[in-house]
Structures are given as C-alpha cells and as structure tokens.
Amino acid sequence: MAVVSNRLPAVGRAAHRRVPLRVLLDRESVFSWLMMAVPLLFLAALVGYPFVYGMLLSLQDRPVAQPGRFVGLRNFAIDFRDPIFWRVAVNTFIYTGVATVLKMVGGLCLAVAMNQHFRMKNLVRALLLLPFIVPTVLSTVAWMWMLDPAFSVVNRLLVALGWPKPGPSWLGDPILAMISIIIINTWRGLPFYGITLLAGLQTVPAELYEAATIDGAGGWQRFRFVTLPLLRPIILIVTLFSVIFTFADFQLVYVLTHGGPQNATNLFATYAFDIAMGAGQLGLGASIALAMLPALATLIVALTIYMRRS
C-alpha cells in the first residue's frame, strides 16, 4: 500500500507537466476550438476583415490604384445630396417589396396546388424548381431575348391576341423595366417559396383537417385557420431570407438593364458597382453599399435570433 500511495502523486505530477495530445483532445473545449480554428480564421480573414475594411473605405476618398485620404463622413454627405442615390433607394424598396409579396402569394398557391396526390408528382416538383437552380445570369439572358425590343416573343403573342403593334417596350420604358425585373425575380424565386412551403405543408397532420371538416369548416376556412397558422413560422423565415437576398440583388439587373433606362431599375448593389468599378471611386462606392447595412442588419439580426430560438 505504501508503495502505491508514494507513486501515485508522481504520476499525477508528470501528467501535469506534459499532457499527451490524446488526453487533451478528449476535453471537449480543446477539441472544439482546435477543430473550429481553421474555418474561423478563414472567415475572419475573408469576411470579418473586408467588412471592417469596407467601413474604413467608406470614410476615405479612394480612387482606384491610389492611396486613400480620410474624409470623414463626406462620402455619405455626397450620397444624401445625390438624387440618383434616392432614386436607387426607392427602387430597391419597391423592387424588394413587390417581388416579395408576389413570391409569397404565388409560392403559397403553388404549395397548396402541389399538396395533392397525383402521378409524377416528384417529376413535376423537380421541373418547377428548375428556374431556381439554373444560374441566374443564363436564365436572365433568355428573358432578355424574350423581351427584345424588335423580336420579343412576349410581344408577338400579345399582338396575336389583339394588342396594338408593336407591343410594350419592356426594357425601354422606366415603369415597364421595373415591372420586368420584378417579374423575372419572381419567376426565379417563386419555386423556392413554393417548395419550402410545400415541405412545411406536408408536416401538417391530416387529423387536423379532418377535425376541422367535422367541425364544419369549408376549404377556405381550413386554409385560413389550420394551414396558415401552422405555416406561419416557415413563411416568416423563407420571407426574411428572400427579402435579404432580393434587397441586395445584383445579377439580374446588371444583366438585363444595367440599371437603366435613366436609373429606373438601378438598385443599391448595381449603383455601388457602377461607382466603385465603373467610375473607380472605391470609397464612394463602399458608402453606397454600406447604405444597405441598416436595413440588412435589422433583417439579419431578426432572422438570426429567430432561427436560434426555433
């Protein structure tokens, strides 16, 4: 006994001096931080740093390939006195608002229509999702051709149905151009709503509908008092998601209209691109991109908290 009790503390001390890696890794905190170190450093370097650097850029007069000069809030002052900036802000809110409502209502209709039993349902669902998975730039080019001033197939169909020749100038008229980008954004985003809401619908227990039917509820009432309340969390998340990415949309507008005609479809992202990459004013461009931050940050914080809670 005495021998053992004499040796044990020695072993303990040795273990203290050099803990084997295997033992260290058995500690959950050590293991976790070691494992997360690489991705966290990566994100800090290529998301965290650019984010802070973008804020610093927005406070500088910084022509491309030249050193920057600190100018305080002057870039933001320039933005606020720039009528195009306000036009861009209004455009972005209209585009986001209208497209979101269309996608939400359309997506809900699509989900309800698809939530029936029929043959080849999986095939239909796969085909309906195609607009969402095909690269945006490529499908937008197809829309551009469909709305071409001279050979628009949409207009040829309209004229065949009795519309006066030559039909609407989709991309040449300020209001029609805005309508066009909203329609195409809706076309692409609607399946995302539809299929995620369909996944939500399929989790609604059939008993609830049966119970509601027995209580005398009609189709609309079942939808209004059973389906909608149960879908509310997923509708909220999908909508917040899509609002964030619609608000910051770039590709569609850049390809289809370049923000024209006369800035009628210019959004924050495309305008920031024009100023930073076209005119070479990195500081001013950064300030325009950052003007999205208050709205985006509110949405991101709300969604992050909501996703963590659920």
Binding site: C109, R125, I133, L282, I300, T304
Partner: protein
C-alpha cells in the same frame, strides 16, 4: 368513384394551377432551346411563326464551341465549383461538428456568428474584397474565386450540416468512445460515414451556388482564359449593341446543363437541403 364531375373538379383544382405554374416555369427554357437551333434567317424574320423551328441547325453550337472560349469557361466553372465546394464541405463540417456535439463556452456565440455570416449578401463585401484580391496580386487567377466563394459557402454548409448532425443519434459515438476509440477516430470512422446524406445535400447546394455566382467572378476575372461561363457569356457574346442571340441561347443552355444534370440525379437531397437551409 371517378365520375365526370369528379374528373372536372380534379382538372380545375389540380391540373389548371399546376399546369399554369409548369408553363410559366419552363417556357423560358423552351424558348432558349428552340432559339439555339434556329438559323439566323428564321430568328430575325417577323413573318415566321416563332414558337416552332422550321429549319433546325446546329450552327450556333458549332460557332460557340469553335469561335469562342466556351469550353475553357466551362472547364474553369467546373473546376472552381468543385474545389470551392470541397473546401466548404470540409470547413463547414469542422464548424458544425463541435457545435452539434460538444459543450464548450462560446458555442452559442459561434453559432450566431455563423448564421449571421451566412446571411451577409455579397454586395456588402465586394468592394473591399476587390481591393484585398488586388493587394494579394490574385486578380485574373482562379484562386481569387476559389478563395472567395467559400466565404458564402462555408457558413451555409456549416448551417446545413449542423441541422443534419443533430438528427444523427449519439449512441453509436458513445459506444465507440467506451470501446476506447479517440475523439478523432470516433469522428472520422463512426460519425462521418453516418452523415453522407447531409454532405450530399450541402454539396449539391454549394455546387449550384458556385455555378450561379457572378459578382466576384465578374470583378476578379477579366481575362478570357480565366472566365467562368456566366461572365464569359455576358462579357464576350454581347459585343457592344450586337447580340448574337443564337449563340447566347446555345451558351445559356449548355451552361445550365451541368447544374441541371447533377440536380436531376440528386433532386431529393436538394429538396431536403432547401428545407434544411431555412430551418433553425
């Protein structure tokens, strides 16, 4: 049971709305396809019925493949998408595993940060990133986009995998631990093989997102030999005010095929990922 009335009702309630959405979703692709095989004489003739092809030709495809760098762009796009997806899956799993399985101080904060980064759209970052890429002298290299795509894909994969990891029962890992396996062995040999469906979902999603990316590729890649399909098509098939519509549509169609093919093989995983991407 199926009476004339029932069939009519079914047609109105099912096939009318579903058919409407199908036509809406697919018409642009139909239009892409038939434009790409119409001869120019037919494309730019307003007296021909436009909805069908009268004299199909493969000329636009031949021109696209021989007179432009389309094949190079396709190769670049695939290479970038595959490497960026692989990096993102590995790094995403490295973030997701501890968050799903371990208890440590700060886990909540890290999870929040990852979710928030996942929601930061590119237009907020592209101007400072362009300057960073310039200073690193990475302009016009595939490395520039292989490095920057994972900034959006890593948080995304981490989030999707986190959701999946939580559904895998802990008992097998605990049994392995009791049998004397180390943590690393447990993760690599017991846990990860159970998570293949989660990795396929996240991988397909990351792959389609990489193929879709445009803004970073547009800014960082300005030489024709390093361009991706979307940037090449926009920058080189539209020359000034001249549109080569036949070639453009052929390019758009060919450019969509890799994504559409992979998607069609794994559509169930994709839909699962779609539902998982908006779940907490």
């Amino acid at each position: 049971m199926v009476t004339g009335h029932g069939r009519l009702e079914r047609a109105v309630r099912l096939w009318l709305p579903v058919g409407f959405f199908l036509v809406l979703a697919l018409f642009p692709f139909y239009w892409m396809a038939i434009t790409s095989i119409k001869p120019n004489a037919e494309l730019y003739n307003r007296n021909v019925m436009p909805l069908v092809v009268h004299a199909p030709t493969l000329k636009h495809y031949v021109d696209l493949l021989t007179k432009t760098n389309f094949l190079v762009w396709t190769w670049n796009t695939m290479l970038i998408a595959i490497v960026a997806t692989a990096i993102s899956l590995v790094m995403g799993a490295m973030l997701a595993y501890p968050l799903a399985r371990m208890r440590f101080a700060g886990a909540g904060l890290i999870a929040m940060t990852v979710a928030a980064i996942y929601l930061v759209p590119q237009p907020l970052l592209f101007i400072p990133l362009a300057d960073v890429i310039n200073r690193l002298d990475l302009g016009n290299t595939l490395t520039s986009v292989i490095l920057t795509y994972p900034t959006m894909l890593v948080p995304f994969c981490a989030w999707l995998l986190l959701g999946y990891f939580k559904t895998v029962p802990k008992e097998l890992e605990e049994a392995a631990r009791i049998d004397g396996a180390s943590r690393v062995q447990t993760v690599l040999q017991v846990f990860l093989p159970l998570c293949m469906p989660g990795f396929i979902s996240a991988g397909i999603f990351a792959f389609t997102l990489s193929q879709n990316e445009f803004l970073y590729a547009l800014i960082f890649l300005t030489k024709t030999t390093v361009r991706t399909v979307p940037v090449g098509v926009i920058a080189e098939l539209i020359r000034g005010d001249v549109f080569y519509w036949g070639q453009l549509m052929a390019g758009a169609l060919l450019g969509s095929i890799p994504v559409a093919l992979i998607y069609s093989f794994f559509v169930e995983y994709y839909v699962a990922g779609l539902a998982g991407s908006v779940k907490g």
